[in-house]
């Protein structure tokens, strides 16, 4: 009986200690996150579908681990070759194959810090990427559409022109999940 009482008392004390130490942890939020160590790159992306379309399967991991400054030297030749295979001559931006490949080879999103931010809205080109931008149509048009955007009409738009859910007007803007 005494043993049981002692046991119960010990349990209460241990529980209290546990609660006290838990409170301390809650108060010191830095302890809740492990921020130690060195993190190494696994995946990388900027412009939609560029790596996907122009970087072959055997080099995808290499691409994902290449800093943007090193991408052109490593991947521009591949991109030129694929544009050649696509029958590319020029696009609606008037870019030669070499100019277009140079743009694509450094995979960063150019984002304007003042004014309209869009992948392409009919007027502004590559000033950002917003949720409702039809980025696939833009890329198909630039790859297959030729100087006037009228070449290969069956290949320059996929006829999916918007998302399947309405975006929110307030933060976080993306629609709730299905």
């Amino acid at each position: 009986m005494k043993n049981i009482t002692n046991y119960a008392a010990s349990f209460v004390i241990i529980s209290l200690l546990f609660i006290v130490s838990s409170c301390d942890k809650d108060n010191d939020q830095k302890d809740m996150f492990d921020t130690s160590g060195t993190y190494t790159i696994k995946d990388q992306m900027a412009r939609p579908a560029i790596a996907t379309v122009f970087v072959g399967a055997s080099r995808k991991d290499e691409f994902n681990g290449t800093t943007p400054t090193a991408m052109s030297a490593a991947f521009k030749t591949d991109i030129v070759n694929k544009l050649t295979a696509f029958g590319y001559t020029t696009n609606a931006l008037g870019q030669t194959k070499d100019q277009f490949a140079s743009l694509l080879a450094t995979d960063v999103l150019n984002v304007k810090t003042n004014g309209t931010t869009t992948f392409f809205d009919g007027t502004n080109v590559l000033t950002g990427r917003k949720l409702d931008d039809d980025v696939i149509d833009t890329e198909l048009l630039l790859i297959f559409g030729g100087a006037a955007g009228t070449s290969n009409p069956g290949l320059t738009k996929d006829n999916v022109n918007g998302n399947d859910k309405v975006f929110l007007t307030a933060f976080p803007y993306l629609a709730s999940p299905w």
Partner: protein, 222 residues
């Protein structure tokens, strides 16, 4: 005739280069594995745009773990050993001058920065010396998103509808040589699928004074 050449070229590339997927969905073989299942470090899309609610703010979105059904989404989580990082160049040399880093651990997201990185390139340490913003990860089925705020920064982490849209199924048929062009209307292959999203809105004043910044997203792990 010209079209035929184009189509056959595309087919040849498709065969040589493997199956073309989507925006960046399942496009990191090292993290998606042999069965091509999207996992915690697989980025599907990056967005950067002026806030539609406040033109003094910029919004950065990183989506991971694409093509999830509702059932898969309900069990999905952010791995605690992955660092989600936006890299921002504001000097025009395509080298990051600022990073915004996010960690998700124990049901919470913590966002560090924008802050200068300890070092540029493919390895990172977490920069705890700048602004730190925290909130709970929004759970699947929650009525309202959990939003953290600090110094004009807003953050969110949790499941969202995949905002990407594309008739990928038809595109695969085109590159496979069984179709000659897109259909009209097209069908959105990503309809009804979800991603895990990290959304971060920051005052533009925290991004430097450049008229154009260059942005890319990275996942890093330890």
């Amino acid at each position: 005739m010209k079209k035929k050449i184009v189509f056959s070229s595309i087919t040849a590339i498709a065969v040589a280069g493997g199956i073309i997927f989507a925006a960046d969905h399942i496009d990191a073989p090292a993290v998606t594995g042999a069965n091509s299942t999207s996992t915690g470090a697989d980025i599907t899309d990056i967005y950067a745009f002026q806030s539609p609610a406040d033109n003094t703010k910029m919004v950065f979105v990183m989506n991971v773990q694409g093509l999830m059904s509702p059932a898969v989404t309900s069990a999905a989580s952010f791995p605690p050993n992955v660092l989600y990082e936006f890299n921002i160049d504001n000097t025009g040399d395509n080298v990051e001058d600022l990073v915004i880093q996010a960690l998700v651990q124990n049901g919470k997201i913590r966002v560090y920065g924008p802050v200068a990185p300890a070092a540029t390139g493919t390895s990172s340490t977490v920069r705890t010396n700048g602004t730190v913003t925290e909130t709970s990860v929004t759970t699947y089925g929650a009525a309202n998103p959990s939003v953290g705020t600090n110094n004009g920064i807003k953050i969110f982490a949790g499941p969202r509808d995949d905002p990407f849209f594309f008739d990928l199924a038809r595109f695969k048929e085109i590159i496979g040589g069984t179709q000659m062009g897109f259909r009209n209307p097209g069908m959105d292959t990503f309809a009804g699928t979800n991603v895990l999203s990290i959304v971060i809105e920051v005052p533009k004043s925290l991004l430097g004074s450049a008229s154009t910044i260059n942005v890319w997203g990275e996942t890093k792990s330890k």
